[in-house]
């Protein structure tokens, strides 16, 4: 143990200052933690980095010493030993592994086990639930207690990505509808997906969890500090994997409740809108932004799609044929069926669960009357509502 202590004392002083350096400048380390889990993770991480740096320095100091002293060019004569001999040598051969065992299973292992148990404890004293649904390539957030549900997509303009415009401060890390959470509350986060596996990740929360189609996964956050926190999808999920950011606004509880009320009123108004009769122009005007937000990413703004990957809508059979049979039933694989129910094993997802009746009716009407398509018909929100 004496020699080990001597090695420790031999470490350069900057090394011992490393944790302080790490904490001083976060661009070299994890971003500032704002949840108990993230704080814990940063602490564990800093300790581990120190341990492995020490191991690295000790082992390679010995090796470099040997490379300097035991070289042929200075006439060093090679020894002949092939293994430890005698009790003392055996002791020094076994000793490092004792230290390693201690580091693995005690020094690193025990705090790690505590952190895991804490991390997976999603249910104890949870104040509220947030349901996160990943879909290519956006997130849907749902507050099951109040019925509020909305989609959050990246708001960085395509011109910035194509380098035609100056990039904004939060390039690629900005969304149209950020998710809002109260500070100081334990939020149980449920995750699922409608298509492929996505991963919901906000580095400052210390939380990363996969959203898996057909299953519910869970994690939790308790944000300690109001602010805007940004993250990204972390599991390769297809073409626009790099363009589905997560933005969380953490606000005091009163502000959160006011925001929730406003959202509730908005969705009630949207539901009411489905019951009235819309004109064709109204539907097309409403459908265009819905198309651009949800459909243009694959089918393109001009409806021409991407050859061999995403079909064109312009002049397609789908957009230029009937969707309702003569006896008033939905025709399978028709335009309306495809938009509502998607197509299995492709990136075409079922929008039934994510878009409102009005949005679906409007976007279908828009598609049938744009990109050179001249079906001329329209679908009323009420018809979509009846099909659900």
């Amino acid at each position: 143990m004496k020699v080990f202590a001597r090695h420790l004392r031999r470490l350069p002083p900057w090394l011992l200052a490393l944790p302080a350096i790490c904490r001083a400048d976060y661009s070299w380390n994890f971003p500032e933690p704002v949840t108990p889990i993230a704080r814990d993770t940063l602490k564990i991480h800093n300790e581990f980095m120190l341990i492995i740096t020490a191991l690295f320095v000790v082992v390679f100091a010995i090796m470099i010493y040997s490379m300097v002293k035991h070289r042929k060019s200075i006439g060093h004569q090679p020894a002949k030993f092939t293994g430890p001999k005698g009790g003392l040598q055996w002791f020094w051969a076994i000793f490092p592994f004792g230290i390693l065992l201690f580091i693995d299973f005690i020094l690193m292992g025990i705090p790690a086990v505590h952190a895991i148990i804490d991390m997976e404890d999603t249910k104890t004293k949870a104040d509220m639930v947030l349901k996160v649904t990943g879909m290519q390539w956006k997130w849907q957030y749902e507050y099951p207690d109040s019925g509020v549900k909305f989609i959050s997509t990246m708001s960085t303009p395509r011109e910035q990505i194509g380098n035609a415009e100056q990039k904004g401060e939060h390039y690629l890390l900005e969304v149209d509808n950020p998710v809002v959470l109260p500070v100081g509350k334990k939020v149980r986060v449920l995750l699922t997906s409608t298509d492929v596996i996505h991963t919901w990740w906000v580095p400052q929360f210390g939380v990363k969890r996969d959203a898996i189609p057909g299953f519910l996964r869970e994690t939790w956050v308790k944000i300690e500090k109001p602010g805007i926190y940004r993250g990204q999808c972390a599991e390769l999920c297809g073409k626009d994997h790099g363009f589905m950011p997560v933005v969380v606004h953490a606000v005091p509880e009163t502000e959160y409740l006011a925001w929730l009320d406003k959202k509730k009123t908005e969705s009630a108004a949207a539901a009411g809108a489905a019951d009235r009769t819309w004109s064709k122009d109204e539907l097309i005007a409403h459908g265009k932004p819905v198309y651009e937000k949800n459909c243009a990413v694959c089918h393109q703004a001009d409806g021409k799609g991407i050859p061999n990957a995403f079909p064109a809508l312009s002049g397609s059979k789908l957009c230029n044929s009937e969707w309702l049979s003569k006896d008033g039933k939905l025709i399978p694989d028709s335009h309306v069926d495809r938009v509502m129910n998607g197509k299995a094993n492709t990136a075409m997802q079922a929008f039934k669960g994510t878009l409102s009746d009005t949005d679906i009716a409007a976007v279908i009407t828009y598609e049938r009357n744009s990109f050179g398509n001249t079906m001329g018909d329209m679908i009323q929100p009420a018809q979509i509502k009846a099909l659900r």
């Binding site: 661009s27 070299w28 380390n29 994890f30 971003p31 889990i37 564990i44 991480h45 581990f48 980095m49 492995i52 082992v59 390679f60 040997s66 490379m67 035991h70 070289r71 042929k72 060019s73 060093h76 090679p78 020894a79 030993f81 092939t82 293994g83 490092p96 592994f97 693995d104 299973f105 690193m108 292992g109 086990v113 895991i116 991390m119 997976e120 990505i161 380098n163 990039k167 390039y171 690629l172 492929v196 596996i197 991963t199 990740w201 580095p203 210390g206 990363k208 996969d210 898996i212 057909g214 994690t219 999808c233 972390a234 073409k239 994997h241 790099g242 991407i306 990957a309 094993n345 492709t346």
Partner: protein, 531 residues
């Protein structure tokens, strides 16, 4: 044991077909080894060009050179090419050339199987890369775009590139299994009289464990991708929850193969290291038995730790704790190896020829891979590292610094033996220093990118990641260009150069150095006797 042939020596090397037919029909372990190594070198550059295109795109934020779809194809095919078509064939090439020389055998035990094993590789490489070309002619949407991991359901959704990759993996798997059977049979049956298992060269021991791991895990991968194929085309639902399947099942199956695969790539290199270190330290290998037992322990542990590749999918707490501790325990046998490597050099008489430089560079950089691997095993911290550039940097320290630099060590060490000429030591040293410096320039920034929160496999990134990405791209281009020196040095050495002795290196020990350089067509006509 009467395998040693009694033909008169002058019969050999006379009535063989010449030209391309010689290579198509050869059953000679050296010819086949040469083909494996040449193929690996070519594919190393193919995979390298792919990733340089990726790094060029990542030089600055915004999309400059390619669409995200194409970016996703490049990263996946880069990995598949480097793993299956560069590193694995290079290691098999070593085994073919060296095993008979080192264990005192005339050839590999199953020469025709050997030929077939190699000639399966080019078609597989073509299958893997063909979709790029097909897309140019409007057929399909390009190569596999799911990353090398094939994760369902993304791979169920993918285009024809996925089918091509599945068939390529099947063919590569068949080739690997045949190669493994050949190696196991050769080692068990063709050792020189007196060479007991505990006198077997460590390189052969490393490959023996690799071969068993391949036979144990390749069928699991083959099963997983076949299930994927039937999910895609025949309406099964292995990985579709709507039909009673489970997408995570795919990850379990894939990584049951995928984690041992890491050791499949590294064990031959770990086997090689003691030979090089002992040669250039002029001192016998330290802890032979300890190294053999460590290889075996790592082989066993490698098949029981797979789930640490997907800690974030949401597993029960006991599973997380089990996989964390089982993963950490790999550090023990690995530390034994490091201990033995350093102890082999300790109090030797070292000289620093190119192979020794690569071996020592390997130890230091692979040490970083091992140590970062230790913290990655920690589930709580892994939630931050996972899917980030931290992991990308970690596994390139393992597979480039560990795998590829290990292969380079072997190439420089044995090239004079194979060609009968010395390579250029000056070029070799330039190659080493350029590789080490640019490798670190490429991947150290990626550790920091990962800590700062940059996910992997994204074609474009937020502005705070700009500087480190730019540095990493510069490093990658220097790294890529430096490898041209490697290829040129090999070419020069094959063409000519100072004559190499039979015992190329002063301190070299082992049967392979008893033969002249280059060795005769059939290595050991009469088996040597090992005392």
């Amino acid at each position: 044991m009467s395998i040693a042939t009694t033909h008169p020596a002058e019969h050999h090397g006379e009535h063989h077909p010449s030209g391309i037919l010689r290579w198509l029909t050869t059953t000679n372990h050296k010819d086949i080894g040469t083909m494996y190594l040449t193929f690996a070198l070519i594919m190393f550059f193919v995979g390298g060009i792919m990733i340089l295109a990726v790094r060029a795109e990542l030089f600055s934020p915004g999309l400059q050179l390619m669409k995200p779809e194409f970016f996703n194809q490049l990263i996946g095919v880069h990995a598949l090419v480097m793993i299956f078509a560069a590193l694995m064939p290079a290691a098999t090439g070593f085994a073919n050339w060296q095993l008979p020389l080192m264990i005192g055998a005339p050839d590999m035990a199953l020469p025709r199987l050997n030929n077939w094993g190699f000639w399966l590789l080019p078609p597989a490489a073509i299958l893997l890369t063909l979709p790029f070309t097909l897309a140019l002619f409007g057929i399909g949407d390009g190569a596999i775009a799911t990353g090398w991991t094939f994760y369902a359901p993304l791979s169920v959704q993918g285009g024809i590139g996925v089918d091509f990759a599945i068939f390529a993996v099947h063919i590569l798997g068949v080739s690997s299994i045949m190669g493994s059977i050949n190696i196991i049979v050769t080692i068990f049956n063709l050792r020189a009289p007196g060479m007991t298992m505990m006198k077997l060269p460590l390189f052969a021991w490393g490959w023996l464990i690799t071969a068993f791991l391949l036979i144990a895990t390749i069928p699991v991968l083959a099963g997983a991708v076949t299930m994927l194929l039937t999910d895609r085309h025949f309406g099964t639902h292995f990985f579709d929850a709507a039909g009673g399947g489970d997408p995570i099942l795919f990850q379990h199956l894939f990584w049951f193969f995928g984690h041992p695969e890491v050791y499949i790539l590294l064990l031959p290199v770990w086997g090689l290291m003691p030979h090089v270190l002992s040669t250039f330290s002029r001192k016998p290998t330290y802890g032979y038995k300890a190294q053999v037992y460590s290889f075996i322990a790592i082989g066993v542990l490698s098949v029981i730790v797979w789930a640490h590749h997907f800690f974030t999918v949401g597993m029960p707490v006991p599973a997380l704790i089990y996989f964390m501790f089982s993963t950490m325990s790999i550090s023990l046998p690995l530390a034994v190896l490091f201990f033995c490597w350093v102890a082999t050099m300790w109090r030797g008489a070292m000289s620093f020829e190119t192979p020794m430089l690569f071996a020592q560079g390997f130890i230091v950089l692979f040490g970083m891979a091992g140590l970062t691997g230790l913290v990655l095993a920690d589930v709580a911290a892994d939630a931050q590292y996972h899917h980030s550039y931290f992991v990308v940097a970690h596994f390139h320290y393992a597979l480039f610094a560990g795998g590829i630099m290990g292969v380079m060590t072997g190439v420089y060490y044995w090239l004079p033996k194979w060609t009968g000429h010395m390579y250029s030591e000056t070029l070799g040293k330039w190659h080493f220093w350029l590789t080490v410096v640019s490798f670190n320039l490429t991947f150290i920034p990626q550790f920091f990118l990962g800590l700062a929160g940059m996910p992997r496999r994204i074609p474009d990134y937020a502005l705070q990641f700009s500087e480190f990405n730019a540095i990493s791209t510069v490093g990658a281009f220097i790294l890529g260009l430096s490898q041209l020196l490697f290829a040129y040095n090999i070419w020069r050495c094959v063409k000519g150069g100072p004559k190499a002795e039979g015992r190329v290196w002063e301190g070299a020990e082992g049967l392979e150095w008893e033969l002249p350089s280059p060795p005769p067509h059939h290595s050991w006509e009469t088996q040597p006797v090992v005392k």
